[in-house]
Symmetry: C2
Subunit: 259 residues, 2 copies
């Protein structure tokens, strides 16, 4: 399909014309077995620092691939600054939150332990891979940072005062999200989503007293935590976030539609 974008791959190494890079075994597998590419085919590379570069597959076996970096495609852009604080939930919904948050431009994924959080282990390798893949698909030039889990109340005690914390308040007491977000001053922001059982009353009371907290309502229905995360992040980007920015255009012949 002509409209298909070049395959984008995240790499750790520095990017520059003439560099020869070894890809990860999973990437070699993806190129060969999933995408059926071959030596000579073009891919696009990014590393979160050096922009996006066109590269060509130099060698490709079952689990090894090398690529030759050729020319720059896009300059590195200023990454957005939006954190997502989320209570770990069961695997499928957690992975969905990481994938969708990445697509929606989150810069830091911050797991928080709340009173009713009943998941105590994360798989950072797996979640990191999901974030990388979502960044590749979404044309981002960076991968969100996955932080170590912290107790919610410790995190907000040590909070950078200028960063607004958008609290998704499921009690029905908060003003609707659109109005609340419009009233926020410019500056860095974070979205906070509670666990499956909701926040405890004591947590909500403490959060509402903090000067940087902005409670928002997400409508009259009860949303699952993954739905709430996606809806709140979309709202945060649409009202005061980066949705007013023009889409970064890719070179001709590489449109930006993905499934």
């Amino acid at each position: 399909m002509e409209a298909k974008a070049a395959t984008r791959l995240y790499v750790e190494a520095g990017l520059g014309a003439g560099a020869m890079l070894a890809l990860a075994p999973a990437q070699a597998h993806q190129l060969r077995a999933v995408l059926r590419l071959a030596p000579g085919d073009a891919v696009a590379l990014f590393n979160g620092r050096d922009g996006e570069w066109r590269a060509r597959i130099a060698s490709l076996t079952r689990d090894r691939a090398t690529v030759a970096v050729e020319a720059p495609l896009r300059a590195q852009e200023e990454a957005g600054d939006l954190w997502l604080l989320f209570a770990p939930v069961k695997r499928a919904r957690l992975e969905l939150i990481v994938e969708k948050a990445t697509e929606l431009g989150v810069s830091a994924l911050c797991p928080v332990i709340t009173e009713r959080t009943n998941i105590d282990r994360l798989n950072p390798e797996r979640l990191g891979a999901i974030a990388r893949e979502a960044a590749e698909q979404s044309e981002r030039l960076s991968v969100p940072e996955l932080r170590a889990p912290l107790p919610l109340m410790r995190l907000v005690t040590d909070w950078p005062a200028e960063r607004r914390l958008i609290l998704c308040d499921e009690t029905g007491a908060a003003p609707p999200a659109a109005a609340a977000l419009e009233a926020l001053p410019p500056g860095p922001r974070a979205v906070l989503i509670g666990p499956e059982g909701g926040f405890a009353e004591t947590e909500l009371d403490a959060l509402r007293k903090l000067p940087f907290v902005c409670p928002v309502g997400l409508g009259p229905r009860v949303l699952r935590c993954d739905t709430a995360a996606i809806a709140a992040l979309a709202m945060a980007q649409a009202v005061g976030g980066d949705w007013s920015a023009a889409r970064l255009r890719r070179p001709a012949g590489q449109t930006a539609t993905r499934g």
Copy 2:
């Protein structure tokens, strides 16, 4: 957990004090094996017409349950009027779209066949069950109607002129969603999401010429179709939709938090 809402079940039958209803086998299984309820336990019932009613389990075996309807909990509310037009995609993402659209208050789910739609079969029973379950979880009093698939161009040829069609335009040419939605007059609306490969240029050209079509942009990144559907529905409800309505309160002791 005290804060847990009563189990809500969708039924087809009419609801009124004293009615004795047989539940579906899957519901009997859910009550007994998943939720470990027993005769005498309370549940809440709704059917999309008669509001929400408290009922009590009268008998419960492996695949049969009868419930006695006792008293009304909530009056039937006016259902929202928001359609989602979506191109069928692979199963996992399709099911996610149906679940999340239901949580976000969609009244009609309308599969549309576009030029680049490459899925030609849906499983209406499975999708209907997902919508019913999401309605139960989200405290809705209705289940969205799942329509039969129609070619997109036939659907818009026969379109009710007063219903605005919010076109999620991934080309970067549309105004940002918040501004575009704020400019819409009040009235019924629909959201249209394209297939994995995006709309064809001819489709976009034809859609943009229709007087009821409102193209919106969903930010600078490339969103998967399920992400785009959830983000656009959240925006449509938040700006001019029902998110400004107060949450319907349930009786004391039944708060509305779910995972």
